[in-house]
Symmetry: none
Subunit: 423 residues, 2 copies
Amino acid sequence: MTFSVSILATGSELLDGRVLDTNSHFVARELSERGLKLKRVLCVDDDIDELLAGLRQLTEVSQLVITSGGLGPTSDDLTRDLLAAAAGVSLVEFPNARAHLESFYRARGRVVDSTNLRQALLPEGAEMIPNPIGTAPGFIVRVGTSIVCSLSGVPREFQRMFNETVLPLVVSKAGLTETIQRRSFKVFGLPESLVGAKVEDLALSKEVTVSYRAAFPEVHVTLKCSGATRLLDEAAAAVRGVFAPHGFIFTEDPKITLLQSVHALLLANGLTVATAESCTGGMVGQFLTQQPGSSGYFRGGVLAYSDEVKRRELGVPETLISSHGAVSAEVVAVMAEAARSKFKTDYALAVSGVAGPDGGSDAKPVGTVYLGVASSAGVLTRLCFYASERENVRRYSSLAVLDMLRRSILGAALPDGYPVMKF
Amino acid sequence: MTFSVSILATGSELLDGRVLDTNSHFVARELSERGLKLKRVLCVDDDIDELLAGLRQLTEVSQLVITSGGLGPTSDDLTRDLLAAAAGVSLVEFPNARAHLESFYRARGRVVDSTNLRQALLPEGAEMIPNPIGTAPGFIVRVGTSIVCSLSGVPREFQRMFNETVLPLVVSKAGLTETIQRRSFKVFGLPESLVGAKVEDLALSKEVTVSYRAAFPEVHVTLKCSGATRLLDEAAAAVRGVFAPHGFIFTEDPKITLLQSVHALLLANGLTVATAESCTGGMVGQFLTQQPGSSGYFRGGVLAYSDEVKRRELGVPETLISSHGAVSAEVVAVMAEAARSKFKTDYALAVSGVAGPDGGSDAKPVGTVYLGVASSAGVLTRLCFYASERENVRRYSSLAVLDMLRRSILGAALPDGYPVMKF
C-alpha cells in the first residue's frame, strides 16, 4: 500500500462560504510535485461529533492526516480537544508553547490572558509544531496507526508549518527518495481532445504519465516519470515530433505564457508592432502591453469599432465594406496594412469579427472572426471560428492573432489544410 | 433535524493540485445567503470504490448531496456509474440528452462519436439536469433517503446548473420560508476600511447584519435582516445618506457591475464615447466593449502608447510633453479633447500613467495615473494614485476613468477635498 495523506479542513467559515479553502490546494500541489497524490479532503464544521466522525474516516484510509484550523483561543476552536479525545489522552500545558505565547504577546505590547493560554494546552505526549508567525502552535499526535499533524488554518501560518515540519515528515515516512522528472509543452491552436488523441497515438512508455490541462485557449501537456530520464526524453522527443514541426508548441517552459513568449520574441528580434481592432475593442493592445517593457515594441493602435472609424482612420474603402462586410478577410487585410503604415511598425495586427451574442448571420454566425497580420512580406489573413460567449470569442481571437504574430516572426506557417479552428 | 446539504467533489485534478475546488465555495456562499450552512465537503479521487465510500458517508448525514465532476466522456469520468451503482439501477440512453449532445456538436461542426455518446447515458429513472452551455447533462437521482444532484465540474456549467435546478430544489425541500431580506450598495472610489469605518459610525440596529466584500476596486456593502423590513429600510437609508450624496454608490443592484452601470447610462442617454489610452494600452476600450450592444455608444479610440503617437495622432504638442511629461494633467487633457474631436463623440476618455514596475520617479512614482474626461462642457482631469502591481494599476485606472465618465453623465462631482485615492 502506498503511503496515503488526507486533510481534515475544519471551520464554519469554510462551510458558510466566508472563506475558500486554499490550504488543501496548497498541500495537493506540494505533494504532487513529489509524486504523491492526496487521498481525501474532508471539510467539516466546528462540532466535536462531526470532527470525531471526520477524523475517524480519514485515519481509516490514510497513514497521515493533516488538520487545518481550530487551534485559536475561542470556544469554537476544538482541534486540541478533538485530538486529545481521539488519542485518548488529556490536554496538558506545554511550557515551550506557553513561553512562545507570552513572548508573542509581549512583543505586541499585550498580556496573555487565560483565554489565550488555552493555546498552550496540547494533547499529552504530542510533539509541538512551532508557529513562528502566529500564536497557536500546532502538534503531531498518533491516533491508532495514523499520524495526525494539526496546523493553524491561517494560510501563511499553515504553509510555513507544513513546509518546515510536515513535508519533511511525509517525505521521510513515504520514502519519497525518487525524484519525479517532468517535461512540459504548451500548445496553442489545437483543441484539447485533438492534442490528447495525437499523444495517445504515440503509445508512449507506460513508465511515463501524461496529463493535460486546458488553460483556455492553451493546452498544456505534462509528461512525468520517476527516475528514468532516458524514457522521459524519448517520450518528450516523440511529443515534440508531432507538434513542434508545425509550430504548435509555443514554449516548453511551464512558467511562460503565450503573452510572455510573444513579448520575448518581439524584444529579442528588435521588432515593433501596432494594432487595428474592431470586435476586441482594445484587448489585443491590452495583452501586448501587459508585460513590463512593452514600450520596447508596442507603438500604438486604432480601435476601429464603427465602420466610419474603419474608413476614416484606416482608409478602408466604403465599397469594400459594402461588398464583403466589415467582418471579412478583405477588410481585415486593409486594417492591418493601414495600421502598419500609420504607426510605422514592422508588424501590425488586425481583428474584425462577430463577438455576439447578436449580429450573427447564417454566413457569419457569432464567433466568426477574421485576423490579419501585416509585415514587410505582405499581409496574411485567417478566419477563425470559436462559437462561445462574447468574452470567450474576444479572448480567443485576441490570443489567436498574437499567435499568428508569433508564427510570422518564427516563420512557422500553419500546416496545409489546417482547418478553421473549431472547439 | 434541519435540512442538510453536502458536496462530493470528484476528480484527480483536485487532489493532485492542478485545480482549486471553487464549486464548493460557490455553493457554500449561495446557501449561506439563504441561511443554510453546508454540512460537509468531501473530495475524493476518480476511483469507483472511493466514490462509493464517499457518497455513502455523505448520504448518511445529508438529505441532499451535490456531486461535481466526472460527467465527461473519458474513462475516468465515473459519476454516472457511481450513481447507477448507488441507486441500484442501470445506465440507459436518455433521448433528450442524446439530442442535446448531437446538436451541441453539430453547432460546432463536429460529429458525436461513441465515446462522446457516453454522456447521454444516465441512471434509469433519473431526472436530467440540462447543461445549456456544455456537453454533459447532469441528473437527479434518489439514493436511499437522500437526493443526489450530479453536476458538471466546469465552474460556469456547475454554477448555471446549480442556480437553475439545484437551488430551487433546496429552497423548496429545506422549506426556506423565512426570508432574509437584504439591501446592497456597490461603492466605487473609497477604500474598504474607510467604507467600513463610516458604516460603523452609523451604529445601525443590532438586528441588521452588515457585511463587506472588496471586489477590487469596488466595495460591496450588504445589510441583512430577517423579517423586519422597517429596520432594514432605516439602516439602508442611513447608509445611502452617507455615500449617495457624493455619488459613491454606483448601484444598489447586487447583480450590476460598474461596467454595466456605465453601459446602461450611455445607452439610456443616447451618448457616444471614444478613448485615448497610453498605459492602459486598450483596457478602457476593452471594458467599454465588454457588454453586448456597446456599438450603440463606442465609436473608436487611439492607443497612444509612444510619445510619437501622442503627438502625431492626437496632436499633443512636443513642448507639452517636454515641459510636463507624458504623464501629466496637461497631456491627458489634450489627449481627451483630441479623441473627442477625432471621433466626433459626446465624451472621450484619456489615461496616461506609470503602470510600473519601472519608469517611476520621486515626483511620479509607480501607480501615478492621470485621467481625463472631455465633453461639451470642457475637459476634467484627475490624478489617481494606486501603488500596486502593473495589472492592478492598469485595472484600477481603467475603471476609475469609467467612474469619472459615470459621474460626468450624472453630474455627480467628487466632494471638495476628495483626496488622490490611495489604498
